[in-house]
């Protein structure tokens, strides 16, 4: 495929993902509010926020890293999108596969960190003492989530003898019974549990801790910086859902399927968050060392012999 055509497809895809991400975020907050008996925000609130932020006139800066933080974050989000095959069309070089090297799992997993690094360092430059605390928690939880996640992913990689997301999705085509959810239930279970942590809703939302510590990266930034951060947040949320969708739920054959599946995946974490209270950081870490970990180990054992 011509590189320019590909670039056009990619930009279009990015646009879809950003908007879907914002909409999904608003929807989830609405759902959350309704379940708590509140009215909640309007669906278009994210767009308003974005516009407001990009048009702020007064901006501040703390230093180099203050600039680099959002840049890292957004690059991380966009990069994740670029390296992820979005919609399965049956061709390796299909329109929605972006620049993904067939979606190399190692690349995706490591690149996730790129954005986090930016957020962490950017907030650090602000010099607010509590930003360090929030970041430490976030990174620690991320590391803990990766334990069951990696186990499961390795199991899937063994199962299909590949590290390519494209090939994994390809192998799940045909019937719903070909989904990893059914062919490798332990791995799927481990991933589904790990998802809760990765998406960062209650009980794993101490990182953001909206009710307790009203600070963290989000309060350090305003204006264009915050706009970038929010955009990046939208992209990253969608991309994580898409990752799980590709790994476990058979991928998507169309944008619609992608939207539905990612919504459901995202909703799952919100749903759990409604039910369970927030964990302390050591609780959430040890939680991943228990059931999800065992499931992950079982998944590998199942396919390694």
């Amino acid at each position: 495929m011509n590189i320019y055509v590909k670039l056009a497809y990619t930009l279009l895809g990015l646009l879809i993902v950003i908007n879907w991400g914002m909409l999904m975020g608003a929807t989830m907050r609405k759902i959350g509010a309704r379940m708590a008996g509140r009215h909640g925000i309007p669906f278009h609130q994210p767009w308003i926020n974005l516009l407001k932020n990009f048009s702020t006139r007064t901006t501040i800066t703390h230093g180099i890293m203050y600039y680099l933080g959002p840049v890292f974050r957004l690059s991380g989000g966009v990069g994740l999108f670029l390296f992820m095959p979005m919609v399965f069309t049956g061709a390796v070089d299909g329109p929605w596969t972006n620049f993904s090297f067939e979606g190399d799992l190692v690349l995706i997993l490591y690149f996730q960190v790129f954005g986090m690094l930016g957020m962490a360092l950017g907030a650090g430059e602000g010099g607010h003492p509590y930003s360090a605390m929030g970041i430490a928690r976030g990174l620690a939880q991320h590391a803990a989530v990766e334990l069951p996640l990696t186990l499961a992913i390795v199991s899937i990689a063994i199962q299909y003898d590949t590290l390519s997301i494209y090939k994994i999705v390809e192998a799940q085509q045909g019937s719903i019974l070909n989904w990893v959810l059914f062919t490798n239930p332990f791995a799927a279970a481990a991933i589904i549990l790990a998802m809760l942590g990765a998406l960062g809703h209650s009980p794993f939302n101490l990182v953001k801790a909206p009710n307790e510590i009203l600070i963290g990266p989000a309060t350090e930034y305003e204006g264009t910086y915050l706009g970038f951060m929010m955009t990046a947040g939208a992209v990253i949320h969608v991309m994580e859902a898409v990752l799980f969708m590709n790994l476990v739920f058979g991928g998507a054959n169309s944008w619609l399927e992608l939207i539905v599946k990612s919504f459901l995946i995202y909703f799952w974490s919100v749903f759990v968050g409604m039910v369970f209270p927030r964990f302390k950081i050591e609780q959430s870490i040890t939680w991943f060392f228990k059931v999800p970990f065992v499931l992950g180990v079982l998944a590998i054992l199942m396919y390694s012999f």
Binding site: T58, G79, G126, V297
Partner: protein, 1041 residues
């Protein structure tokens, strides 16, 4: 030539004449005595040279003109010439050393001294056993008398105990001699050997009595309290004579007389030697008195010599060489150390810190200690090497273990002592004064050690190939140590580059890679040295010593050369490490682990040599004798350098506390030596060989566990350099794991890691080191906000941590990617998961590092701190460029690496499509990644910069802050203990099991030593009891009850 009998006649004649000559005055008398000693030494030397040239044959000197056994005869052969030379030289030097005491004391002391040396000569030369008895009595009496040169409560006791004990021993010997004559009718040793006494009924007992007495003269453990007391209490000049001359002579007597016994005794001699060697070195652990420590060490060395003597049938032609090497090192080193102790006048080990007030004393002391332990280029190194080779070759692995274990114990206390000298508190100690006549002998023996070491190496075929030029360069740097840093640094760098220029054409790819890391990397690291002012005394010789070792292992064509380089490197790096302010205990554990590892390596190389006639490095490819064990030992040896889990406890302290520009050397460069060794040995094991699968499997798990635990430990460090040190442990774990995979991809990953770790750990340690130099603390919570003051350092750290964490697009990712591909292909899934988790953890500690040091609030006292020194920045930026190149054009490095590895692992190579690497599981391209991410990054950055071009710069304190009441100073820094929550979750992984294990081992040894040494109650009577018990027990064991 002068008849050897004149050694006796001149010595005794002068000794007798001193009664008259003494009237001419003290100085004349001393001059006469010293010239007599010189004359004696001259006679021995003359004979020695004659024998050495090979023209002279062994001659017999018949006293009274009758052939033996009618009258007493003396023998002068090569051995006798050598041993009398040793005795007479130390006698002469010792005499010079003792001049001040001689002047103070009565002239009788001179005669006693002269007679002592004469007696030692006779017991070496005589071939008559009763004559031997008489002159052994002369020796004991004169030693006991000379103890009183420095008369005090302690020396009087020691002298009496010594005399009593030697009399008991002599009595036993006399009984043996009486009955030897009774049974055979001769007193001549050669005749006694010929009659084969052990076949006569009762003759066995005669042999027993004679031998046990002579063995007792060698102070076997534990019947040796009497000798230790003399070592401790007598004047050091005498200690030197006893340890160097008397012990040497007694040892020769044993070797001469043991032929009477025949071969069944050899084993027991070795056994007694082993007990002595282990026992006295064990007790040495608890010593805090320097001279007594030397005593224990002397006795231990004699034990080692006895072991060797017992194996002389097995060692065959090599026996003289081995004995010579060990004996001569012991001889020079012990004499030197005793003399030093007399100059320094420090009783307690800790008081030796005073030696630092005269720095060249450290050189002397180091020379002696390293010679004792068996480091190159000293003779003991070559002797120990040959010994182990031969012992393993004959299947006596147990004995190798005994020898190495005992040597290890000895190294422990000697290095602890050395540590006190280098690092101990010396403010309160008074500086000692140096007498010229005391210094001359010390310098002579120190230089002689080097010279003899060189000749020892030349004596063997394999040793003659060793390249001593790098070592000579160390000597040059030592000689110009008084010059300013700038000059020395330039010379050092130039020397290294020149060396590289000459060496590199001959190297194959793997060696070239490591040589570049070692030498070019080393030269880069040295550039930072320009930042130092003044002389930086002692830095350059030791740094170059380490590099000499490193290049030595690269250029090694034989296993001996390899081991030689390995030991040089260990010594050099030890000295480098202990230069740090608080690095003394860590330096000790470093050197101990290194020596332990080196011994494992030595044993392994010995096993590798079995069945081969040469020592070429290719014997590693085909080990025939217990190959699994041999490889395991060699690997363990290398793992101590790569700080694998269980052998890592030295690293954090050693790297963390080293000087700023030393840390990169010992971390980024030195650790690769272990990797290089592993590469060699794994190549030797072969890719296809199934019998080593267990070994590589275990190695793989070890690597994986090292990775995770290293990371976890790094997480909880408050000290920036320790954090990096633990990170190094973890990174080296990756390399070990990658190599253990034994596939093309695994090795490619491992090599990528080798390069990467070199690049980013060099940058990180260098930068952090430079920062530490500026801010004056290692503790991260005492830093913060330094990005404002040190943007250059920040950029360097940022880029290298991105690489270290394996975040695309930087080069760390290349390693990770290759790694997981290799692991999944191998089927090592859990190891893969573990390493993956640990890279998550790595990200945690790296974030903490950069955040705590550079971000957050700037500390008040750092408000005016400058950015890192330009001299530190140069190497940092050179390597940053390298890092970025490697990141964006990985194919430039990975393709040649792949071709190199294909030689050993032809299957499973990466396929390259332009810059895209394709494996079985996926593909990836460094440049595409770089361009993609880079362009997005730049795009967004530009957008942001444009849109916030008018951004208002916020001042430091313009923030909201809801405070928390601090309890301790460090808690005011929010990043202090920032991973508390994580700790609560995974504290279980941070239990220092390994450290506890090694502590337990150490405590066990110390407790055993503490308990055992109660034997030496100080009661002269119990010493006699020990002797009698020793005799009876040995009797029961050997002859049987």
């Amino acid at each position: 030539m002068v008849d050897p009998i004149h050694i006796i006649s001149s010595a005794l004649g002068v000794a007798f004449a001193i009664g008259i000559v003494g009237k001419l005055g003290k100085n004349v008398t001393i001059a006469v005595m010293l010239s007599t000693l010189a004359f004696m030494a001259f006679i021995s030397l003359q004979w020695f040279m004659a024998f050495f040239s090979g023209e002279q044959e062994t001659t017999q000197i018949f006293t009274a003109g009758f052939k033996p056994p009618i009258s007493i005869n003396l023998q002068m052969g090569f051995n006798e010439a050598l041993f009398t030379l040793l005795v007479n030289v130390v006698g002469l030097l010792g005499g010079i050393y003792l001049i001040d005491i001689f002047k103070k004391q009565s002239k009788n002391v001179l005669t006693v001294f002269l007679v002592l040396i004469m007696g030692l000569n006779v017991i070496i030369m005589t071939r008559d056993i009763f004559n031997l008895f008489v002159f052994m009595e002369i020796v004991s009496i004169s030693i006991a008398g000379l103890v009183f040169m420095d008369e005090n409560l302690k020396s009087s006791q020691a002298g009496l105990k010594y005399l009593i004990a030697t009399s008991v021993i002599a009595g036993m010997l006399l009984i043996g001699i009486i009955f030897a004559y009774y049974f055979t009718g001769t007193l001549n040793i050669d005749d006694l050997i010929a009659t084969n006494l052990t076949t006569i009924k009762g003759g066995g007992i005669v042999v027993f009595l004679i031998l046990i007495s002579i063995i007792l003269e060698l102070k076997p453990f534990p019947a040796n309290g009497w000798a230790l007391d003399v070592y401790e209490s007598s004047t050091p000049g005498l200690g030197a004579i006893i340890s160097a001359a008397a012990a040497t002579a007694s040892f020769f007597v044993l070797s001469k007389v043991m032929d009477i016994a025949g071969q069944e005794w050899y084993y027991y001699i070795s056994l007694i030697g082993a007990i002595t060697f282990i026992g006295s070195n064990l007790l040495g652990l608890k010593q805090d008195n320097a001279k007594r420590l030397l005593g224990y060490s002397s006795i231990g060395q004699l034990g080692l010599l006895m072991i060797i003597l017992g194996f002389r049938d097995i060692l065959g032609d090599q026996t003289p060489y081995v004995i010579f090497g060990i004996l001569v090192s012991h001889y020079f080193a012990k004499a030197g150390l005793f003399w030093l102790s007399g100059i320094v006048k420090a009783q307690k080990l800790t008081d030796w810190a005073v030696i630092r007030k005269k720095p060249f004393f450290l050189f002397l002391m180091g020379t002696f200690l390293f010679a004792l332990i068996g480091f190159p280029p000293f003779p003991s190194f070559f002797a120990k090497w040959t010994l182990v080779m031969e012992l393993v070759g004959s299947g006596n692995v147990t004995w190798v273990i005994i020898v190495l274990f005992g040597s290890m114990l000895e190294a422990v206390y000697l290095f602890r002592w050395f540590g006190y000298a280098i690092k101990g508190e010396n403010e309160h100690l008074e500086v000692f004064k140096i007498d010229l006549h005391k210094m001359i002998p010390v310098w002579i023996v120190a230089l002689a050690l080097y010279a003899v070491g060189y000749f020892t190496a030349q004596m063997t075929e394999v040793g003659a190939t060793i390249n001593f030029i790098p070592l000579a360069f160390v000597g040059v740097l030592l000689a110009i140590d008084f010059l300013p840093v700038f000059v020395k640094n330039t010379i050092a760098i130039a020397g290294m580059l020149l060396h590289f220029y000459f060496v590199y054409p001959d190297l194959d790819d793997i060696r070239l890679l490591f040589e570049v890391i070692f030498i070019i990397g080393g030269a880069l690291a040295l550039i930072a040295g320009y930042a130092y002012k003044g002389k930086r005394s002692g830095f350059y010789p030791v740094a170059i010593l380490m590099y000499a070792g490193l290049t030595g292992i690269i250029e090694a064509s034989t296993t001996l050369e390899f081991f030689y380089g390995w030991e040089l490197m260990t010594a050099g790096s030890y000295f480098l490490i202990i230069r740090g302010k608080r690095s003394m205990p860590h330096g000790l554990s470093y050197i101990l682990f290194s020596i332990g590892g080196a011994y494992a390596l030595l044993a392994g190389l010995g096993m590798a040599h079995v069945g081969h006639t040469t020592f070429g490095m290719d014997i590693l490819n085909n080990i025939q004798y217990l190959p699994v064990w041999a490889y395991a030992l060699i690997i363990i040896g290398f793992l101590t350098k790569t700080a694998a889990l269980g052998l890592h406890i030295w690293l954090p302290g050693a790297h963390g506390e080293a000087e700023s520009d030393v840390s990169p050397m010992v971390s980024a460069i030195l650790l690769k030596a272990g990797v290089f060794g592993l590469v060699l040995v794994l190549i030797g094991m072969g890719a296809e060989n199934n019998q080593y699968e267990m070994l590589t499997y275990a190695l793989g798990w070890l690597g994986a566990l090292t990775v995770i635990l290293g990371s976890i430990m790094a997480l909880f460090q408050e000290d920036a350099k320790r954090l990096l040190a633990y990170s190094s442990i973890s990174q080296l774990g990756y390399i070990v794991l990658g190599l253990a995979v034994m596939s093309h991809l695994g090795w490619l990953g491992a090599f990528t890691y080798v390069i990467n770790h070199f690049l980013y750990k060099f940058i990180l340690f260098m930068t952090l080191g430079a920062v530490v130099l500026r801010v004056g603390t290692h503790n991260m919570y005492q830093m913060g906000g330094l990005i404002k003051r040190m943007p250059i350092a920040f950029i360097a750290v940022l880029i290298s941590i991105i690489a270290l964490a394996g975040i695309p697009p930087l080069s760390g990712f290349a390693g990770k990617w290759l790694f997981y591909n290799a692991l999944i292909a191998k089927g090592w899934y859990f190891q893969g998961v573990i390493t993956f988790i640990s890279s998550g953890i790595a990200f945690l500690y790296l974030w903490r590092l950069i955040h705590t040091v550079f971000l957050g609030q700037l500390k008040d006292n750092h408000r005016n701190v400058k950015d890192i020194s330009i001299w530190f920045s140069i190497p940092i930026f050179v390597l940053l460029i390298g890092l970025l190149t490697f990141s964006f054009k990985p194919e430039w490095v990975l393709q040649p690496l792949g071709n190199m590895i294909a030689e050993f692992f032809p299957t499973g190579q990466l396929t390259w499509n332009g810059g895209t690497a394709i494996s079985q599981y996926g593909y990836w391209s460094g440049s595409v990644l770089g361009i993609t991410i880079g362009s997005i990054f730049m795009l967004i950055l530009i957008w942001l910069l444009v849109s916030t071009r008018k951004a208002h710069k916020v001042k430091q304190f313009d923030i909201t802050y809801s405070g928390e009441r601090p309890e301790r100073p460090e808690t005011t820094h929010v990043a202090y203990n920032v991973f508390e929550g994580v700790y609560k979750a995974i504290w279980i992984a941070t239990i220092p099991l390994v450290e506890t294990f090694w502590t337990r081992v150490t405590n066990l040894l110390h407790d055993t030593a503490g308990f055992t040494r109660r034997l030496y109650s100080g009661d002269g009577q119990s010493y006699m009891l020990h002797i009698v018990v020793f005799i009876v027990i040995t009797y029961l064991v050997i002859i049987g009850g």
